[in-house]
Amino acid sequence: MSRYRRRPGINETPVEEELFLIAGDSGDIFHLDQLAMSIWRALEQPSSIAELSALFAEAFPDVDPGILTKDLAAAIETLLNGDLIEVCD
């Protein structure tokens, strides 16, 4: 299963409980909501979706695991599309 990591050279600007990222290559600005920001934080250590799902299931025990995994996959896709993270293995 693929694992993901942050791409280098991404500039972070936290604002309250949310985060703005500036991609190093394009200079594009991305706004992360709390879920995406949590994933970004978690990807300080390379992780797979399964590992992230386990981590988030522990943090949000009341959320349906299927919904959680779906939301995580969508957020990972967004981060990938923005070139903010990359597959590392």
Binding site: T13, V15, E16, F20, G27, I29
Partner: protein, 305 residues
């Protein structure tokens, strides 16, 4: 929009771009002049829209500004404007008002580019109480209507479209370039008689779809007039809304709105974000949901006075 004016007709007839290029205007910037070449034919119309923007005659300032001028060229009734600070090459203008308005955009870019602490914000701004209230939103969100309704009700007008942000001070300030406000016609059905009289009394140029106002010095800030910003209000028009509601807006949401409206040719995206974070952090951020600007203007006056 098919605005035909005497100035435009004159401009359309100027087909010799070489001759036009030989004539220059030098307008005041924050530190030195901003040179415009080829705009002589537009001059009378342009200065109807920016009547108080000082013109410089000092040769030293003119020489310095001429290094990288804004260039206006005309050919067969079509106009192009090139600027060292903003990409306007896509414009192929044949409308006098649009030419002048685009040139004003280039002038604003040239103005803010002279100072690392300046940026331009696409917004309306009016003094209420002791501070400046910035109003922004999407096109048709009501910036011009709000700005002029508030002016009609005794609040000092700064702009209905573009304000210069000064981030050099402890509290960000807004600076007026005294650009004439413009309104779409016909006025909204709900416009009251006082407002209609205000527009009639202050109309300078009128076309079927639009009117440009000239506000007297007691109604509007002078060129360069500056005031600390008290609040930023995101205008959200909803014709089904009931009473206007003013609610606090989370900073991240306001930063996203500001990022859409800020312009600073000398900033990279990191700089733009930093400016928006600073602005949203230093002043109160509000969202106004409203159906009628005429009702909601009272909400703003009552809250910020």
């Amino acid at each position: 929009m098919a605005c035909r004016t005497e100035s435009e007709t004159t401009a359309s007839q100027a087909t010799d771009s070489q001759a036009a290029d030989s004539q220059t205007l030098v307008l005041a910037g924050p530190h030195h002049g901003i040179t415009v070449t080829g705009a002589k034919e537009l001059e009378s119309f342009l200065f109807e829209l920016i009547p108080d923007w000082p013109r410089l005659t000092d040769e030293t300032e003119a020489d310095q500004a001429a290094i990288d001028p804004i260039a206006v060229k005309s050919e067969d009734g079509h106009w192009r404007i090139s600027s060292p600070h903003v990409d306007l090459e896509e414009f192929d203008l044949d409308d006098g008002y649009m030419v002048a308005n685009t040139l004003i955009g280039a002038l604003i870019a040239g103005y803010v580019a002279q100072d690392e602490n300046l940026a331009s914000l696409h917004a309306g701004a009016v003094r209420i109480g002791d501070g400046l209230i910035i109003m922004l939103g999407d096109n048709l969100s009501g910036k011009s209507t709000f700005s002029t309704v508030l002016a009609a009700r005794g609040q000092k007008f700064f702009t209905d479209d573009r304000i210069v942000l000064d981030l050099s001070t402890d509290r960000p300030a807004g600076r007026s370039l005294a650009i004439a406000p413009k309104l779409r016609l016909p006025l909204p059905e709900e416009a009251d008689e006082d407002y209609r009289d205000f527009v009639d009394d202050n109309s300078l140029l009128t076309w079927p779809e639009m009117t440009v106002l000239r506000l007297a010095p007691d109604l509007a800030a002078e060129f360069g007039g500056s005031l600390p910003i008290t609040a930023i209000v995101h205008l959200r028009r909803d014709t089904k809304a009931g009473q206007p509601t003013l609610t606090t807006m989370p900073r991240p949401a306001m930063i996203l709105v500001l990022l859409e409206q800020i312009f600073a040719p000398h900033f990279n995206q990191q700089g733009e974000l930093a400016a928006c974070v600073r602005l949203a952090g230093d002043v109160d951020c509000w969202q106004l949901d409203y159906a009628s600007a005429f009702d909601a203007a009272e909400t703003l006056i009552a809250h910020f006075s």
